[in-house]
Each structure stands twice: as C-alpha cells, then as structure tokens.
C-alpha cells in the first residue's frame, strides 16, 4: 500500500486529473504568455549577441573616414591620434554592374582587399569559391546576398563600369561582411539585396581604376577601449581636412549597422511592450479561472475545516493546485519559448546574413514569466479563500445564500410575459452574480482586445506603405545623379519620349543637430508645391514648402526633440560643407524613414549652389517604360534609376521578413489566447452549473433546452464583452503599433471598424465552438450520478 502521499495530496492529484481539460486550457494560455516573453527576449538577446560577436570576430572598424584622396603616409598620422588602436586605408568607389536582361544597371560599391593576408579591419567571410588572385586584376569577390538574389556563382563573368570605364570581371568567390549586413543604394531608404552589390577586389587593380595609386579614399579606424568617440572623430577630421575629408563617422552611423540596430532595437522595444500584454492577459485569465475554481470548491473547503484542518492547511492545499497549473504552464511556456526563440533566431540568422549564431537567453524572462503566473494564481486563489475562511464552516458548507430578489419584484411581471423559465434562469443568474459575470465578460474582452490590437497592427503596416507609396510619392521612378547637376538635366529627362512629368529634387547629405540630439540623414530639397513626391501634414493635406525653414518628419522631430519654432543645425556633408542654422517650420507625416524637407531653391541658395539638382522623380508612360529606362541609362551622370514598384516591393519584403514578421506570429498567438479565454469561460460556467442543468434534464427538459440555460449565459456574457473588447482594443492597438515602429518605418495607430469587426467575429466564432464543445460534455452528463449528489 502506497502511503507516501498524504490523502490531501492524493485528492490534489485526482482533482487535477478530474479538471484536466480545464487545467490544460488554463496552463496553455499562461504558457503562451510566457512563451512570447521568453521567445522575444531570447531572440533579441541572441541577435544582439550574435551581431556583437560577428563585429568582433571580423574586426569591424569603429570609425569610417571617407576622404577625397589621401596619400598612404597620412595613415601614420591617424595612427598617432590618442585612442586610435589601428588605422588602415582602403580604396572604394561606386560602380555600375550590367546584368543580362536588366535594362537598368545595378549600382555597386567596389572595395579594395589588402594585398597580403587577412584584413586588419573589416575582414570578410568567404562563403564560396576562393580569394581573388592578387596578380589577376579581373578577379573579384561578390557579396553573397547580391549573388544569391541574382543567381550568380563563382566562375560567372560580369561587366562593370568604374569611373566611366568598362571592365570585365570573373567572380572568384562569394563573401559576407559585417559591414554589409544590409545594403542600400545611395539615395534610397530601403535595403534590397538584388539592387545593390558589393565587389571586393585587389587593391592594385582598384587603385588603377580609381586613380588612387599610393593613396586611399577611406580610412578605417579601430579604437582603444573607453575612448571618447567624438574627440577622435574631430581629430581625424582635422588630419583629413586638407585632403578633402568628407567627415569621419562612427560605427553607429554606418548604414548597415543603422538598419540592423533599428531592427534589433525595434525587436527589443517589442519584446518589452508586447509580451507583457500577452502575459498580463494570460495572468488575468488565470486569476479569474482560479478564483472561480476555488469558489466552486466552497463546500469541500467547509468540510475540511469541519474536520479541523486549519485555514493554512486548507489554503496550502489549494495553493498547490493553483501553483501546479500555473507553474506547469510557465514551464511549458519557457521550454516552448526557448524552442521558438531558437527557431526564430535561425530564421533571422538567414535574413540578417549572420555566418553563425550565438544563442543567448535572458534568465530574467523566465523569472518574470514564472513569477507573474504564480502571483496571478495566488491572487485569484487567496482572494476567494479569504472570503471562504471568513465564513463559519457550517455556512461555507451550505451553498451561498441566495441573493435578495425583493428589489426585482417589479420586473418579475415583465419577465413572466417575455421569458420562459430557462430564459429567466439565464437572466437571474446574470443578476444574481453580476461580479462573476462581469469578470467573465472582462476576461473575454481582454482576449478580444489582444486580437483587435494585433489585427490593427497588420492594417497599420499596410497603411504605412500606402501612405508612402500611393499618397506621398505619386511618381513611377526616381533618377539619381552621380553628382549634383545643372537643372538642364531635368529638361533633358523631360524631353525623353514617354516621360510624362519630371520633378527635380536636390538631396543633400547632412548631419542634423538639435540640442544634444543628432541625426545623420538627408535634406530633400523639393519644389515649393511638388506634385509627384510630396510632404503632407497629419491631416494628409499637402504641405507647401516655404522660402525659409525646414520641415521635419514626425519620426525625425521625435529623434531631434525639435518642434516648429526651434532652430536645427545642419552640417552639410558635401561640397563646401557649410553649417546652416535652419528654423523648423512644420512637421510632416511620414511613415517611412525619417526625412527632412526644404524648398529646393532655398536649399540651393543656402548652399550657394543655385540651379543644382541631384535627381528627379518621373511619371512614365507604362507602355514605353523599358525604352525610357534604356534612354536614361545612356544619359551622362546618371547613377541609377529606382522604380517605385520595386522599392515598394523591397520595403514590403523588409517589413515581412525582419522584425515586422513577428506581427504574424503574434497575431496567431493572439488568436489562440482569445480562443483559450472564451473556452475557459465556457468550461467554468459549465462546471458551476452542471448540477442545475442535470436537474433540469431530470425534470424533463430536453438536452437543447438545458443547454440553452448554459449557452444563453455564455452568449450574453460574450455579447457584453464585445464593446468592452473594442474599447480595450484601442489601447492595445496604440501600444502594439508604437512597439512596432522604428526609425526606418512607423506603424500608425490603426483602430478601424474592420479590425474590431474581425476580432469580434473571432470571439464569436470562439464562443460558438466553445459552446459546442461544452454542449457535447453536457450531453454526456450522467443524470443518476447528478441526482445522487443531492445538492
């Protein structure tokens, strides 16, 4: 005879077995809340740690210092700057690659490899083929992401134009580099593997192509630990100034690093904001369910007390029951979260092109997940237990006293005319236990709110793209020039057959400063009332760009903490590099990137470069689009053409493959949680009413009639939950869309009839399915047993 377990513990195990369906449903909901937390924090930690390790292992430079042309000996002076550990020079240049079947050449950056041995900074990771032979000037390495996107492999040949001359190259190998996790063509806001290439080749050959023998045009600098970055940047700028220094910048301003940082930061923000919402909803459900389970055990509690068990002994018995469910759920969620985090990290490893993965979990997420579950379970259980303990055992053992109905006497007449007996049972119960019903409705409402928020975010992503590509930008293509040109180029573009509209633009790279905040970006100089690429205010009215002042996008205004009336400083990063103080005149609604707009003439005037353009927006007759592109390609000074449709596709891809992908997973989990909450509510109602319902059956009610009493209640509670869910959903949508917004794209708060309607439908469908499941159980109740129970 096994007597290892005390009888109460055996009761516990069998009780758990008896309510296994319910216990599983509760544990599953809390598990999903914990899973989300563990997965998101694990994923973000892993990405961050992997990036750090990748940068370290391949010695990514801390400072990048582009310069017009500096002799190699200048490197010695850079190395002498206090805080500089290592300084190397390299040659880089822009190139255009001709690909078969492509009308528009693909823009590329050519980067020199050291002649001997591995690079001291910015090393590369060879993934296929071999390093180029230093003695063969026509061998190159190609960025793996681009090669994959274009179906190129070692051994293939390609043609590239460098510094105006065409060269034939042979691909010796493919490589990855921490410097080019993301590649963005100059002037574009969105990274796209297929539309920008990186070519590595021997220093000699590249120096010959760009006329850089014995010189470099970019210095890479590695810093000692704990050095003040700004003072080193200033020192480097002073050294390179006479050589045409273009402004040294730190790793944080490297475009690839900026994107990956925004992605990881977005993920971190998401991990901080969203999983707690899920966990909170789960915990709230746990609280409600546990309190109702304990409430249903009232008589057994009274009985145990009648035997002489102390309050503490009874409480600890139920505590074990609650904690078993809560902790089992939390552990399942943790394990699931580890597995899911690992799987997601694998997906992101491919997407971010990390050559390896450093999987790292956040132990705090386990602690928070388990503690939240335990606290919610305890709060739910003890709240009820305290009430039961206050009662004398004799009272506890009786069913709770019926509520006073004298106040409802007047309604009774109306009821008797409108409602049959089962209908009255439903209504009376709602009236008798309004708090319990309100708790049930609130539980379902939070589940629905979760779905409203997650569905709203899906719509927000679409809205963000629509605003950027249909409302603000009405062009078909964007042409960019290698250097600012005279506005004659615009007339030439306009003269091309098939070009319906041309709009000049002057984009100037700047460092914007306001107070302690700065942002490296571009000022877009546009016509005062542009038609193709526009800026709009928050009410989506086109903004007219005044003769003076700068218009900041909402994201940029937030980053700089600047508002209309403030003056921002723009350090121009090209030409004579003036520093301009410009008043902020308006804030524009832009969801993609963080642009700043100025009147083009005013901008050119400030730069003392009148009549200069750096590119143009075009509207093209789609029937002759290819001919137009061929013609543009042959125009001198054209750096590239970006078709809006392609840009739109690439940002869609970015939103769907990067951190934005999480929204689909979260939507799925939100759906499951919502269903879990509705199902749990139905199960509890069933457990509480099974005796009444059996009695109804005994006195001759049909199965359907008895079920109506239960399902009618579920239906009413669900209906009550819908408006509440919509209300809570608004807050949820605001929190979630803020969590998904980054500096690269913002997700507007989207709370529309469609999101609410879809979530309401999901709740109703969950309720119908749960009702069906519970009805099935009700049909199986053994009436004889139910009768024998007496009460």
């Amino acid at each position: 005879m096994v007597t290892l377990l005390a009888p109460l513990d055996r009761k516990l195990l069998r009780d758990l077995w008896r309510i296994k369906g319910q216990a599983l449903a509760i544990a599953a909901v809390i598990a999903l809340g914990v899973l989300m937390l563990v997965m998101m924090t694990g994923l973000v930690n892993t990405l961050e740690e992997t990036r750090r390790a990748y940068y370290d292992r391949y010695r990514l430079a801390d400072v990048f210092a582009p310069v017009e042309r500096a002799p190699d000996r200048v490197l010695e002076r850079l190395a002498e700057i206090p805080g500089v550990a290592v300084a190397v020079g390299r040659v880089t240049g822009s190139a255009l690659i001709d690909l078969e079947g492509e009308i528009v050449p693909v823009r590329a950056q050519a980067v020199s490899l050291p002649d001997h041995g591995p690079a001291r900074l910015n090393d590369i990771h060879l993934t296929a083929g071999r390093m180029p032979d230093p003695d063969r000037g026509d061998e190159i390495l190609l960025l793996k992401g681009f090669a994959d996107a274009r179906g190129l492999a070692p051994g293939d040949r390609l043609q590239a134009t460098m510094n105006g001359a065409r060269h034939g190259f042979r691909v010796a190998g493919l490589a990855q580099s921490p410097e080019f996790l993301y590649t963005t063509a100059p002037g574009e806001i969105v990274p796209d593997d297929a539309r920008f290439a990186v070519i590595w080749m021997g220093r000699d050959a590249l120096s010959a192509a760009y006329d850089m023998q014995g010189a470099f045009n970019e210095a890479l600098v590695g810093l000692e630990r704990g050095v003040n970055l700004q003072s080193v940047l200033d020192a480097i700028d002073r050294v390179l100034e006479p050589r045409g220094g273009l402004g040294a910048y730190g790793l944080e301003d490297l475009p690839s690093n900026f994107f990956i940082t925004e992605e990881i930061e977005g993920g971190r923000k998401n991990a901080i904001a969203v999983p707690p919402i899920f966990l909170g909803v789960s915990a709230f459900l746990l609280y409600i369910v546990i309190s109702r389970i304990v409430q249903a055990e009232r008589e057994e509690i009274g009985l145990l007390k009648a035997f002489g068990y102390t309050d503490w002994e009874v409480a600890s018995h139920y505590l074990k029951l609650m904690l078993t469910i809560a902790i089992a759920g939390a552990i399942a969620g943790s394990l699931g979260g580890i597995a899911a985090g690992r799987a997601m990290a694998g997906v992101y490893q491919d997407y971010y092109k990390f050559p390896f993965l450093v999987f790292q979990l956040d132990p705090r997420s386990f602690v928070i997940g388990v503690m939240t579950s335990v606290l919610a379970a305890c709060a739910g259980g003890f709240g009820v237990l305290r009430g039961v303990f206050r009662l004398a055992p004799a009272v506890a053992m009786r069913p709770p006293a019926p509520a006073d109905y004298s106040g409802t006497g007047r309604l009774a007449g109306l009821w008797s005319r409108l409602l049959d007996q089962p209908g009255r049972m439903v209504l009376r119960r709602l009236q008798r236990q309004p708090m319990r019903m309100a708790g049930g409705a609130l539980g379902i409402a939070t589940g629905m709110a979760l779905s409203v928020g997650m569905i709203g975010v899906q719509a927000g992503f679409s809205k963000s793209i629509d605003l950027g590509f249909s409302v603000l930008d009405r062009s078909d293509a964007q042409v960019s020039f290698t250097h600012p040109q005279s506005d004659k180029a615009i007339y030439e573009l306009g003269r091309l057959p098939g070009v319906q509209e041309v709009e000049p633009v002057r984009n100037v790279p700047v460092l914007l400063r306001h107070g302690l905040n700065d942002h490296r970006g571009t000022i877009n100089g546009m016509l005062s009332a542009p038609r193709l690429a526009r800026a709009m205010d928050e009410a989506q009215r086109p903004l007219t760009l005044p003769e003076e002042g700068i218009v900041l996008s909402t994201t940029l205004a937030r980053v700089l903490e600047a508002a209309p009336g403030d003056v921002v400083t723009a350090e121009v990063r090209e030409g004579r590099r003036p520093v301009l103080d410009i008043p902020v005149v308006a804030v524009a609604d832009s969801l993609l990137g963080s642009p700043a707009y100025m009147n083009m003439e005013a901008l050119n005037a400030a730069l003392k470069e009148p009549g200069r353009v750096s590119g143009a927006y075009l509207r093209i007759d789609s029937a002759v689009q290819d001919e137009v592109l061929v013609a543009i390609k042959d125009m001198p000074g054209v750096a590239g053409v970006a078709l809006k449709a392609e840009t739109r596709d690439s940002i869609q891809t970015m939103m769907d493959s990067g951190m934005g992908m999480m929204r689909y997973i979260m939507l799925a989990i939100a759906g499951v949680v919502t269903f879990g909450i509705v199902y749990n509510s139905a199960r509890i109602a069933f457990a509480e009413r099974v005796h009444d319902l059996a009695s109804l059956r005994v006195i001759g009610f049909s199965r359907g009639e008895a079920a109506f009493v239960l399902l009618g209640e579920l239906g009413l509670v669900t209906l009550a939950a819908l408006p509440l869910g919509a209300l809570l959903g608004y807050g949820m949508a605001a929190a979630v869309s803020a969590a998904f917004s980054t500096e690269v794209y913002s997700i507007p708060l989207t709370f529309d009839a469609q999101s609410v309607g879809s979530a309401a439908l999901a709740v109703l469908a969950s309720a119908a399915f749960s009702g069906w499941l519970v009805k099935r159980d009700l049909d199986r109740v053994d009436l004889v047993t139910a009768l024998k129970m007496g009460e």
Binding site: P7, D15, T310, E313, A392, A394, E791
Partner: protein, 242 residues
C-alpha cells in the same frame, strides 16, 4: 478534588440561554431562542423536531461549525462561545466527529483515503482500515465513493468520523438519504460506536422512531426545547421500524 472539578465527570455539553439569530432587522431569523441543555457524557442523544426548529443550528454551534449570537455553551469545562477561529479548529480537530446527511465524502478519494483525511491530523487516531472494519466496509476500502451505495457511503462517513476517536460524534440526518433497511444498518453502527467506544453522540433526525434507541430524546420546536425525555429502556436499532 471534588467530582465537580474533574473534567471527565462533567457533562459533555451544558448550554444556558443559547440564541442564534441569522440576518438583522425585519429579515432576522431567530433559529435558537434561548436553549438550556445538559448532555451527559457517553449518552446517545436524539434531537427531534420539524424543519427549521433549530436542531441543526444547535448541532453546528456545539460542533464548532457556527457561533452563537448569545448565551453560553460549554464543552466539559471549556467555554465554546468565546473561542476564536484557531481554538475552534483545534476543538474540532481533537474532540469532534461529523456525519452529514449527504455523506460529504471527497469524490476523488477512496473510502480509506477519505478516512485518512481525518486520521492524518488527529491526535490519537485509529487505524483507518480498522475504522472501516468497524462499519463493515473492510473489504471495500479501496473503492471510490461513486462505486459505493448510499448506505455504504454513509458508513464510510461514520468511519471517517469515529476514526479519530472523538469525544463527541455529531450526526445530522445520517439516515435521511437512505432506505429503512440501510438506515437501520447505519444506526446499528452508531449504537455500536456509542457502546464500544463510549463516544457521546448527538443525532439530529426527522425519523421519530429513531428516538427509541436513544438514552435521551430532546424535542425541538420554534428554536427552543419543548420537552426532554429520558428512555428507561432502549430498543436495539434492528427493532426500530419507520
């Protein structure tokens, strides 16, 4: 030391002016209206009376399940009416056993485990198996309540109540849910417990015929004692017909 001071020679219960009021104001229900009662040690006492006459309320107060509104109730030399929650719990744990009309077995525990539920926390319990043998269920101790008949379930409840060797056994309608033959078997178990263990038994019942087996019969009406009858001769449970 006089006999009066020895707790063992005192009556098991003595109440004076015991009252119990549920609710307040107009809705107040006076369940007990001043009950004076003496229950000598080792007796089997039957409380008779219509529904709502106060017998169950008295049982609950003497059993430490409920509190009186006024008056005093003593268990031997101890005042029950002034006890706090903790003291009442200890009182129930150490001295009292309960048998209810609807058995109140834990459905998730076997017969023996239901008994162990009490022996686990009792000071000087019997062996659970022995308690079940006492009620004639030694063979069925591994059955769950759902596998037992009503009479068997009630006998398990009695075994559970006596297993702690309580000083007092409170039975609230122990045969209320049983047919007469089964009911007699249950009464016989109670009489045996009273005779062999010397346990004082207070039994509330509707079945007036049951009174014939008691030492003392207390008639209740409207929250007060109407009459106390002491039986000179008692019938054996087998002889009772109702």
């Amino acid at each position: 030391m006089t006999g009066q001071d020895d707790p063992m020679s005192l009556p098991t219960f003595r109440t004076e002016g015991l009252t119990k009021v549920y609710g307040a104001g107009e809705a107040a229900v006076h369940a007990l209206r001043g009950v004076d009662l003496v229950v000598p040690r080792g007796e089997l006492v039957v409380l008779l009376g219509p529904s709502g006459s106060g017998k169950s309320t008295l049982l609950n107060i003497l059993g430490g399940l409920d509190r009186a509104s006024g008056g005093t109730a003593r268990f031997r030399d101890r005042e029950l009416t002034g006890m706090g929650d903790g003291a009442l719990t200890r009182y129930r744990r150490d001295h009292v056993g309960f048998v209810f009309q609807f058995y109140n077995l834990m459905p998730s525990l076997t017969a023996e485990e239901n008994v162990e539920l009490v022996t686990e926390i009792a000071r000087a319990p019997m062996d659970p198996a022995e308690a079940l043998r006492l009620v004639g269920l030694g063979e069925r101790r591994h059955h769950f309540p759902a596998q037992l008949s009503g009479g068997e379930q009630q006998r398990v409840a009695i075994a559970r109540a006596v297993a702690k060797q309580p000083d007092v056994l409170f039975c609230d309608e122990p045969t209320g849910a049983l047919d007469s033959a089964t009911g007699r078997a249950v009464l016989k178990v109670l009489a045996d417990v009273n005779a062999s263990l010397g346990t004082t038994i207070l039994m509330v019942t509707h079945a007036a015929a049951t009174a014939a087996m008691a030492h003392r019969v207390i008639h209740f009406a409207d929250g007060a004692i109407r009459d106390v009858q002491v039986n000179e001769t008692r019938l054996a449970p087998e002889e009772i017909v109702w």
